[in-house]
């Protein structure tokens, strides 16, 4: 016979998990003495409870700390480069306004002269150093052929661009950074290994992010490697979902 004490039935799960106060426990146990329906429901809950409490912890197959640490170090490096915000303050409150204006104009004139000089030397640097970060805005994307990760074995072009999700970011002792690019998170293959030979010049990607990687394709036939690579990586662009 069905029980209509819905208020007490709702407490059975809490009773099972010892989440009831003593007063409620006493009321519920008195009810259970007379109610076969609720006793049966409690028995059902106890049955699955006794099995599911054997749910085991699971360990990851490999040690992931190195990859986590690499990512943390990269993020810390980025933060050091970012400018800090400063609060708005009123400087030199006691100086007359016209003097302040003259000083500001003088600073602006000096800054523009210095900036012109810097711009000229920057342009010279661009010509001699095409892979600097400042040139990434003018990066010649059209010169790179789009190749999917699973198409790498059949690719013959040296300059390629490919897309995928970042995993296993590592820093080698010589300072080079490598990461694996996979077509889908959760899948180990197919993959390619991407190597940044100068991490200072390129912003390292975040693990789990989807990116476009531009660079030179090659095959690494060393023992224990035998994989396709983008090496060196020349540009990285995040892909927004």
């Amino acid at each position: 016979m069905k029980c209509w004490r819905i208020d007490l039935q709702r407490k059975l799960i809490r009773y099972l998990h010892k989440e009831l106060d003593l007063n409620s426990v006493s009321k519920l146990e008195n009810h259970l003495l007379d109610c076969n329906y609720c006793r049966s429901h409690l028995a059902q809950l106890r049955s699955s409870h006794s099995v599911i409490k054997n749910l085991a912890m699971v360990n990851p197959k490999k040690d992931l700390w190195q990859s986590i640490e690499s990512n943390i170090i990269n993020e810390s490096t980025e933060q050091l480069v970012k400018p800090t915000k400063s609060n708005n303050k009123s400087y030199f409150p006691h100086l007359p306004t016209n003097l302040k204006v003259a000083a500001i104009l003088l600073v602006m004139l000096t800054t523009s002269l210095i900036a012109t000089g810097l711009f000229i030397s920057y342009k010279k640097q661009q010509v001699s150093n095409p892979s600097s970060k400042a040139t990434q805005k003018n990066f010649p994307r059209d010169n790179f052929r789009l190749v999917a990760i699973n198409e790498m074995p059949s690719n013959t072009e040296p300059h390629i661009v490919t897309e995928g999700y970042v995993k296993e970011l590592r820093i080698a002792p010589d300072g080079d950074m490598t990461f694996r690019l996979v077509e889908q998170l959760g899948l180990e293959e197919p993959f390619i290994v991407c190597e940044i030979i100068d991490p200072i010049r390129l912003t390292p990607p975040t693990i789990g992010s989807k990116v476009k990687v531009y660079g030179v394709s090659r095959y690494d036939d060393k023992i224990n490697h035998k994989w396709y690579e983008v090496h060196p990586v020349l540009n990285i662009e995040p892909i927004k979902h």
Binding site: I13, N59, I73, I207
Partner: protein
């Protein structure tokens, strides 16, 4: 059910403070302490070991990034679980919610990669059936079961992690255990035969 090994609260507090001040060694110790618990949660929520490894990395990187926001108002593991649950939700939105049973019913390698004698093999199969039953639950039911049965968290702690009420936790656990009773029929048959 084995709870994750935890330090005394004072020692853990010191570790967390050191990690907040940039001590990567202290953060590594926290990672070593809690990686099994967090990975287990992620694994049961997503049902895919390789994806769970990726998400574990993301969770700990995010945890390190926002470590300064941890104010000792709750257990550190509960704070980690919250990050993990949110990240799993993000991943679930990207992936299909259907988890094929063959992803779980494998050779038992994920439970014990080393060769096992018959008794442990039976235990491994038992675990596979329990995991398969778990993965047949919907995501919101699975969450409460994993949080309750892996770490024996209170209803209030689970509610804080999932940002719902303890009443909702109770309701979901009730539905989950009722459904598991049916899902675990294969296990009962297996146990009778073995």
């Amino acid at each position: 059910m084995e709870k994750s090994q935890t330090f005394t609260s004072t020692f853990e507090r010191e570790l967390i403070i050191a990690a907040q001040q940039g001590d990567i060694g202290a953060f590594k110790r926290l990672y070593e302490t809690y990686k099994e618990a967090v990975y287990s949660l992620i694994f049961y929520l997503l049902g895919n070991a390789t994806l769970a490894e990726d998400v574990l990395q993301i969770v700990f990187v995010k945890a390190h990034r926002s470590l300064r926001t941890f104010r000792f108002e709750a257990r550190f593991l509960s704070w980690l679980y919250r990050i993990a649950v949110n990240e799993c939700h993000t991943q679930q939105r990207r992936q299909s919610s259907y988890v094929p049973l063959e992803n779980v019913l494998g050779t038992g390698e994920e439970l014990d990669p080393q060769p096992t004698p018959d008794q442990l093999h039976v235990q491994g199969q038992r675990q596979e059936i329990i995991q398969a039953a778990m993965l047949q639950l919907s995501e919101n039911l699975r969450e409460v079961v994993v949080l309750k049965y892996l770490e024996d968290l209170s209803y209030q702690e689970i509610a804080t992690i999932l940002q719902c009420s303890p009443g909702t936790v109770a309701s979901r656990l009730n539905r989950a255990l009722t459904q598991l009773e049916k899902n675990l029929q294969p296990l009962k048959k297996f146990l009778l035969e073995n």
